[in-house]
Amino acid sequence: MDFSLNQEQEMFRGYVRKYLDSVGQTKTAREYIKGDRESLQSLQTGLAELGCCSINISENYGGMGLGALDLVPVLEETGRALLPGLYLETNALAVPLLEKFGTEEQKEKYLPNISNGTSFFSIAWLEPGGSYHPAGITFTAEIEKDQLNLNGVKTLVPDAELADHFIVLVRTSNGKDKDGISLLIIDRSEANLTMRAQKNMDETRQLAQLTCTNTEISMTQILGPLHQGWDALQEGLLSFNAALCAVIVGAMEKVVEMATEYAKIREQFGQPIGRFQAIKHRIVDMKMDLETARSLAYYANWALDSDAEDCIQAISCARLFATEAFARISDHNIQIHGGIGFTEEMDCHLYVKRARFYENYLGTTEQYYNQAAAALGWLDNKASKVLV
């Protein structure tokens, strides 16, 4: 029995923490909000130099060939700093998909560049209407010999402006259910895309609407089985969600620290407010939420690495708990800070907004409830709306 990250993992965390401290933690996110892209660029270079981008890429393609648990401390640190950008989407969604479903050509084309930190992936899933269900995919990719003809609109594409590549859910054959959906990699440099920025309440992440009109693209850009991309995506999402939980745990840890520190120094009625049980016990509740989210997140990543029997429910429940707890404790954090917590100047609100960004990101809360129920064998066959 040993339920802890190992020494190497914690050591790696130490390097990343030190580096992010040196660039001012949330400072990069704040500069990104103001429109400055250079700080983020330089920070991404820094992280790549530390090796963050290559952790879970096979050694064949320039990576370290490590697992989900090895990614955890890095993800936690990026969450703590509310890092903008596509590290999570790239390393925890695109990489697992490429590793498992990519052709040799695709792997060679993409993985080394991801590994050295020069390439980032975004994901284009939602369409106007906003449904993550298969029926929500109406973006067509008509097969014409060895070419695909793309027509459709994708919305809420995260950090599109930072992405070199997009994983896009498209319909390669007619229908409304998951059959006929394929995954496609669009290289920004090779396709004619129209992009329109969309305002995001979480301004540390940029969103865009992406439109294709008779865009031609090679069939070789299909990722995974033709028409059967949905199931491939579900596998990728297991990695993504396990990783997302780690990001959230990192953010939650910082929130608990902020609340605790403020409660120690802020005085009202001649007492540090941390002496009032309304504050004190609430921070304890936050701490309990944090530690539970952490246990569930670590276990989810272990289950993924070990291909454990309860892997799916472990991941979906960890995600459910983490997203809800993150929103809950970020809200509390503002109340504990009082008026100052309501200002733009303090970081409190950045965590509130990020929590909302993750709440229904790549699948709604309800869909993950259904996923967990299905994995536990609790869904009769009548129930249709399940992600997996």
Partner: protein, 398 residues
């Protein structure tokens, strides 16, 4: 038991409703609202709105007729709030002037002060802000540190105020400062009617988490006030502040009616928005949430009416106002939080990109964090309820 309004109250409602229809900007009712280039354009618009209210006799309905009011009954104030919420009327830019400074001066101001200030409050010619909170005196106003030192017939004021709403456009400030450092806590505080237009007063904007700028920091650096600008007695400001709390007879009504309205808009949204062609309201989990919210927002409205009945019978409001404040602010926050969640990932789309026909959910959600803090945090309200209503022991340090 009787939930009806009298014919006279309904007549009052009709008169106001007609006036609003005729005087609100074209397309305001049921249309687009509140899109300003910046906070100064917003303030200018609000000033012009207050002038309209003044001209129509709707700026300060509770004031005595001789000062330009209507001597409205408490129930007429309620009707007024209901109607203003219904049309989402613009904010009252001189809220502090009309609800705090005016009534205070009428009761304990000198004749000169009444003459000098009251009409300009009503017309909006002079906009007021309040100078209560300080960086180290948030919930604990007795910890005020801004000092005023006598110098002939003048007082030299130094210190810092925060959370001064409309401070950036206000002409004058209803300010509390410590005039006696030997007295402890509540004693030794004095209320000044400070001129904001002087070199010793500097305002800096506080940008809120929703990106708006409603509040300011006010820096007082040898600011000057005169003896004639003191309200009540020197060192007896606490009494002035306490007396003030009594003027707000109708309490938190506006927020209660707004919650009711937001709930109805949320129902409409859950019918409009669809997930795979099914309205959100057909989802049993969302429906349960909605019934919980219905039950509790009805509860908060009915609690408010029950407390209002007490106020009507006693002639003055009791500590129950804290219960209304606590419940409505917490529930508003919860409702708005849910309003974002049920929109799914599209709930993060903001401003002009928001998907709901009511594009204010995100702004209202962010703004709601302030509602459980401003005007006394929920924790302070709980202490008040515990001590004044239930008779539980006082907290540490109080």
């Amino acid at each position: 038991m009787d939930f009806s309004f009298t014919p006279k109250e309904e007549e009052f409602r009709q008169e106001l409703r007609t006036w609003l229809e005729e005087n609100l900007p074209e397309g305001w009712i049921g249309g687009t609202r509140e899109v300003y280039k910046d906070e100064y354009e917003k303030a200018a618009f609000l000033r012009s709105w207050q002038r309209k209210l003044y001209a129509g006799g709707w700026a300060a309905i509770a004031w005595p007729k001789k000062y330009g009011g209507r001597e409205a009954t408490l129930m007429e104030e309620i009707v007024y709030q209901q109607e203003m919420v219904k049309v989402k009327a613009p904010a009252l830019v001189n809220y502090v002037g009309i609800h705090m400074v005016g009534p205070t001066l009428m009761q304990i101001g000198t004749e000169e002060q009444k003459l000098r200030y009251i009409e300009k409050i009503l017309s909006g010619e002079e906009v007021w802000c309040q100078g209560y909170s300080e960086p180290n005196a948030g919930s604990d106003l007795s910890a005020v540190q801004t000092s005023a030192v006598k110098d002939g017939d003048r007082w030299i004021i130094n210190g810092q105020k925060v959370w001064t709403s409309f401070g950036h456009v206000a002409d004058r400030c209803f300010l509390i400062a410590r005039t006696n450092h030997f007295e402890k806590k509540h004693k030794g505080i004095t209320v000044f009617l400070l001129d904001m237009d002087q070199p010793g007063v500097e305002t800096k904007p506080i940008i809120q988490m929703d990106g708006q700028h409603d509040f300011n920091e006010v820096y007082l650096n040898n600011a000057v006030a005169y003896d004639t600008e003191i309200v009540g007695e020197v060192d007896e400001g606490w009494r002035v502040m306490m007396a003030l709390l009594m003027f707000e007879r109708s309490g938190i009504g506006g927020q209660v009616f707004t919650l009711e309205q937001q709930f109805n808009e949320l129902v409409a949204m859950t019918k409009d928005l669809k997930e795979d062609n099914e309205p959100l309201l057909d989802n049993p989990l969302i429906r349960k949430t909605m019934i919980d919210l219905y039950t509790r927002s009805r509860g908060s409205l009915l609690n408010y009416y029950r407390n209002l009945t007490k106020t009507l019978k006693n002639g003055r409001p009791g500590a129950e106002g804290s219960m209304d404040k606590l419940m409505v602010s917490e529930l508003t926050k919860e409702l708005l939080s849910k309003s974002i969640s049920i929109q799914g990932h599209q709930g993060v789309l903001w401003k002009e990109d928001a998907i709901s026909s009511n594009s204010y959910w995100q702004d209202n959600f962010l703004y709601s964090f302030g509602q459980t803090i401003g005007g006394g945090t929920s924790e302070i309200q709980k202490n008040t309820i515990a001590e004044r209503i239930l008779g539980l022991p006082k907290d540490m340090g109080r």
